[in-house]
Symmetry: C2
């Protein structure tokens, strides 16, 4: 049985993200699932998500890594606080910085898998690293510095 | 009179990028224009390009910075080689790494402006830095390491 995605526990206010919001009808609906100390995400790009024919667009890869790492940060923060992800309010993070190294071209037509883990959880900040795999090889590595949403941004 | 966009000089084979390809019908059609030693890009996000309501999605910002810096790299490489951008074949770059620092939230509903410049042009590699402005303030800073497309990837 597949568990509920981390993003499905974000409150409605925070579920309109183009990358991972369940309520954004035009969005990518990226989903992250906890897997032990890691979180895993699978994604199938559309035919038009290309940089050049046959190769997945780097901006899409950056988007998947971004949202997946933010979800991973939320799960790690919840765990560090002894909370369940369906705690209300669930911790919600924004991206302070995003770094992606494109190791080799990512082929179109296969499912992408991203695995991420929090390497640092400190106060409002979580640092998450990720690897993106396709067709049995690492295609990109990412690092995201995630910061907990300030109270004044809630309830927009 | 507005000059031709840098991306409009890419050969047809390299004009299907989801971010900036003129031939990708579903793409963002990001356009970069040379402006002295810099290149400038303006972009109006769609209503659904949000991270949370009212705030532009970071993955879109990463995509704009990526394609704009790659265009800036192409222009800088052409200039370094004493070529015009409409030289056939025009230099075409791919992203080796992308780094974005999100300085403050980027408001939806205004035009985003990105200015970029090559800070290093060395052999097949160009390093480009960028600033993304909205509503009179810097919202994000980016750095892209661009690498010239290997010959064996041409003609796909």
């Amino acid at each position: 049985m597949k568990s509920k995605a981390i993003q499905d526990n974000y409150s409605d206010d925070f579920s309109y993200c183009y990358g991972c919001g369940r309520l954004n009808e035009r969005g990518l609906k990226i989903k992250s699932y906890r897997d032990g100390d890691e979180a895993v995400c699978t994604f199938q790009p559309q035919a038009y998500h290309i940089a050049i024919p046959g190769i997945v667009y780097g901006g899409l890869i950056a988007s998947i890594i971004d949202c997946h790492c933010i979800g991973t940060a939320a799960a790690a923060a919840a765990r560090a606080e002894g909370l369940e992800m369906d705690t209300d309010p669930a911790p919600r993070f924004l991206t302070a910085s995003l770094k992606v190294d494109y190791i080799k071209p990512t082929p179109l037509g296969v499912i992408l898998t991203v695995r991420a883990r929090a390497k640092e959880v400190k106060g409002r900040k979580v640092v998450v690293t990720a690897e993106l795999w396709a067709d049995g090889e690492i295609r990109a590595r990412g690092e995201v510095v995630a910061v907990k949403v300030p109270e004044e941004m809630k309830g927009r």
